[in-house]
């Protein structure tokens, strides 16, 4: 039995007012010089300006470094942790909660905590390195290192979610395949590479897509830890946009968001299609 079409109305109104309308309004405002008090239509001026933004090249490069490395690290570490946590080890349930725990903590809280831990002189990390005679680097103040330090914390915080997705993927693989391979004389490595990895691919795809989207539009952790600094050296696109918004360039930052939307879609949509096509069906 089909419900009458007007049953959709309440949901459509909510969706329209809260999602569709702002989205189209932002497309419009991205074409204006907008000070909140008044706006002036300037065509594609904001987009031209945005692409001339000196910090944009750094931001774009950093985004394209940050997204993939955090994504790959989460895939590899998540899979390894999941293998460990699905094997017969002691305290498995407890360890699973420990690995997942950082996911539950507020990102800003994590950022501020690691900012303190990574302080070059008084931070716990460099103090510990000092005990064994290593002169620790300025994790967040060295321009060559700052972005990677933040990425490291991002992985620490996000790997728990990847692990949980992988655990679900691993336990759904029927034991028979692995036992059959073992009977055929496959080594542990061969069983892992030729049986487990292909069969866990749906989980891998989910982890890649989720972490890549998260990495490409990352903002909160970077802002809490370095504010894009020192200087502009750890700026990503989202922090460049946020700074424009803070400076009161509302039209310009809206244009930046449209660009970010396009970039994320341009990377993620084809990737999702490609990953799903390669999914193996046994």
């Amino acid at each position: 039995m089909a419900y009458p079409a007007w049953f959709y109305l309440p949901a459509a109104v909510v969706y329209g007012v809260l999602f569709i309308a702002p989205t189209f309004a932002s497309f419009y405002f991205s074409l204006t010089r907008w000070s909140l008090f008044d706006q002036e239509f300037i065509g594609f001026g904001n987009f031209v300006q945005f692409f001339q933004e000196p910090a944009l090249v750094t931001g774009l490069t950093n985004t394209l470094i940050y997204g993939p490395i955090t994504s790959v690290a989460k895939v590899v570490l998540g899979l390894l942790l999941a293998l460990l946590l699905t094997s017969q080890i002691q305290g498995r349930g407890w360890l699973r909660s420990v690995v997942f725990f950082p996911v539950l903590v507020s990102t800003i809280g994590v950022g501020i905590m690691f900012q303190a831990l990574m302080d070059p002189r008084d931070g716990a990390i460099n103090r510990m390195l000092g005990v064994v005679g290593i002169n620790g680097p300025g994790w967040l103040t060295n321009p060559d290192l700052a972005l990677y330090s933040v990425a490291l914390v991002d992985v620490w915080k996000g790997v728990g979610l990847a692990t949980v997705i992988y655990i679900a993927g691993l336990v759904s693989i029927p034991r028979e395949y692995i036992e059959a391979a073992a009977v055929d004389g496959a080594s542990a490595w061969q069983r892992f590479w030729h049986v487990t990895v292909p069969l866990v691919r749906p989980a891998t795809n989910t982890v890649i897509i989720l972490s890549l989207i998260g990495g490409l539009r990352t903002f909160d952790l970077i802002w809490a830890m370095t504010r894009g600094g020192p200087g502009f050296t750890s700026d990503v696109i989202a922090s460049v946009i946020y700074k424009q918004y803070q400076a009161g360039f509302y039209g310009l930052s809206t244009a930046g968001n449209v660009v970010l939307f396009v970039i994320v879609s341009a990377i993620v949509v084809p990737l999702a299609w490609w990953l799903n096509r390669r999914q193996v069906e046994y």
């Binding site: 000070s35 909140l36 300006q49 000196p54 103040t141 060295n142 600094g229 009161g248």
Partner: protein, 447 residues
């Protein structure tokens, strides 16, 4: 770019949000005396007042509200706080645009005021009686078009170098009148002591801008019409020999290794501590830091002196000055609230108001912009040092009070130049690029 400390004393902010005790007292039939500029207000009125959450700002606002309430028991001023820095700018702009602003609010004068569209959002005050009591330089920086929009908050500030007097005495150093002499002093300090010659605190990025901003007196000495040309898109930092000097100073100090070792991770409070205790000898800063020194290091308050940032020519040595912030009245405040707010503003711009502010702060950090307000006799050494420049007329306003053009990214650029990530030339050129956006947003001619 503008200097705004963003001390995040959250607890204090929460405490400040707690409404002040309402001294209902004699209530509606009171007949407050004093020079109210609007209509006299006799009913119970509550005036909300938005300030930033920095400790000293909240303290001052509370002291003013209390002193005012004693004179006008029917009017209660309630303090609200907002974050400092760009985050706070955003809140002010958004609340003004939506007509949701408090009855009065505190904000920068100069170029940041222009970004608020005062003609459309604020009430002009030029016809008020208190307008006649204000210092001309302040009136200029709190005006847009021909209209005055604010009354001065606290005092004017100087931008220059705070220095540790005992170290100077120990090494027999002289106050430098040129940049070369300044660098010579730095080299002597580096050789003879293990103190940091120049303190830099890039954890709080706004503190990195001083060498550039406080050099403006020297820029004007060489190019008197720099500000006008700058506004008209004709003069640039990168191509003006005088203006690029500030960026070069910053670069030179880093290249010669004269900064404190932890310059990248130290913050404003560290810098203040270092110059007060003599861990470092020179701290380029605005004089509001004197208030922090007297509050947090009272024993060392007279160990810290102050001199203007030296330029090339000893004869034109002088100080770059920041106008006081101001209290503004948005157009959305009407009726009795508006009249009560005007009475409060009249009080802020009066000798009694100055006194209340001085009491709250411990020490003023520069001269007041209100006629009849005087500094107490026992000001700390650094304030006396600064007063000399005012008395001798050797001052110039900072660029942000002469031109509405300023870029939002100067503090990141100066961090890069001061950390050796970017060259001085490159930094100056990047800043020229950065200001273009602001000029276009303001709709200035020639951009």
């Amino acid at each position: 770019m503008t200097l705004r400390p963003t001390t995040g004393h959250r607890l204090l902010a929460v405490a400040a949000l707690t409404p002040l005790v309402v001294l209902a007292g004699c209530g509606g039939d009171s007949d407050p005396e004093g020079a109210g500029s609007g209509e006299e207000v006799t009913e119970e009125v509550d005036v909300s007042f938005l300030v930033s959450n920095s400790e000293s700002e909240v303290q001052t606002a509370e002291a003013l509200a209390e002193a005012f309430n004693e004179e006008h028991p029917n009017i209660t001023v309630t303090i609200e706080t907002r974050p400092g820095g760009s985050e706070g700018d955003n809140i002010v702009k958004t609340r003004l645009a939506t007509g949701d602003m408090t009855d009065i609010f505190l904000y920068n004068s100069g170029s940041l005021l222009q970004a608020l569209n005062p003609e459309q959002t604020l009430t002009p005050l030029g016809d008020q009686e208190f307008a006649g009591r204000l210092d001309d330089a302040f009136v200029q920086s709190a005006s847009s078009g021909d209209n005055l929009y604010g009354v001065p908050w606290r005092t004017a500030m100087g931008g220059g170098i705070l220095y540790h007097i005992p170290t100077y005495e120990e090494l027999g150093l002289e106050i430098p009148l040129t940049w070369e002499e300044f660098m010579e002093n730095n080299r002597v300090i580096a050789e003879e002591t293990d103190k940091a010659p120049v303190i830099q605190t890039y954890e709080e990025t706004w503190t990195s801008q001083l060498f550039v901003l406080a050099d403006f007196h020297n820029v004007l000495a060489e190019e008197p019409d720099f500000a006008e040309q700058y506004t008209a898109n004709e003069a640039k930092y990168a191509t003006s020999d005088a203006a690029i000097r500030g960026f070069e100073h910053l670069e030179q100090v880093h290249e010669e290794g004269l900064q404190n070792e932890d310059f990248a991770s130290a913050g404003y409070a560290d810098g203040v501590r270092m110059v007060a205790t003599g861990e470092g000898v020179h701290y380029p800063m605005i004089t509001q830091a004197i208030g922090e020194i007297t509050a947090n290091h009272p024993e060392q308050a007279n160990d810290v002196g102050f001199f203007a940032q030296p330029g090339d020519d000893p004869d034109s040595n002088g100080l770059t000055v920041w106008s006081p912030h101001a209290v503004y009245l948005p157009q959305s405040t009407e009726g009795a609230d508006r009249d009560a707010a005007l009475m409060f503003m009249d009080f802020v711009a009066s000798p009694a108001g100055c006194e209340a502010q001085t009491e709250a702060l411990g020490q003023p950090s520069g001269p007041f912009a209100v006629e009849g307000c005087t500094l107490p006799d026992d000001v700390p050494q650094a304030v006396k040092d600064m007063q000399i420049y005012f008395d001798e007329g050797r001052t110039s306003p900072a660029l942000e009070f002469l031109s509405p053009v300023k870029g939002p990214a100067l503090e990141q650029i100066t961090v890069e130049v001061g950390s050796g990530i970017r060259s001085a030339e490159d930094g100056a050129a990047l800043y020229d690029e950065d200001v273009r956006k602001q000029a276009q947003q303001l709709g200035l001619e020639g951009w």
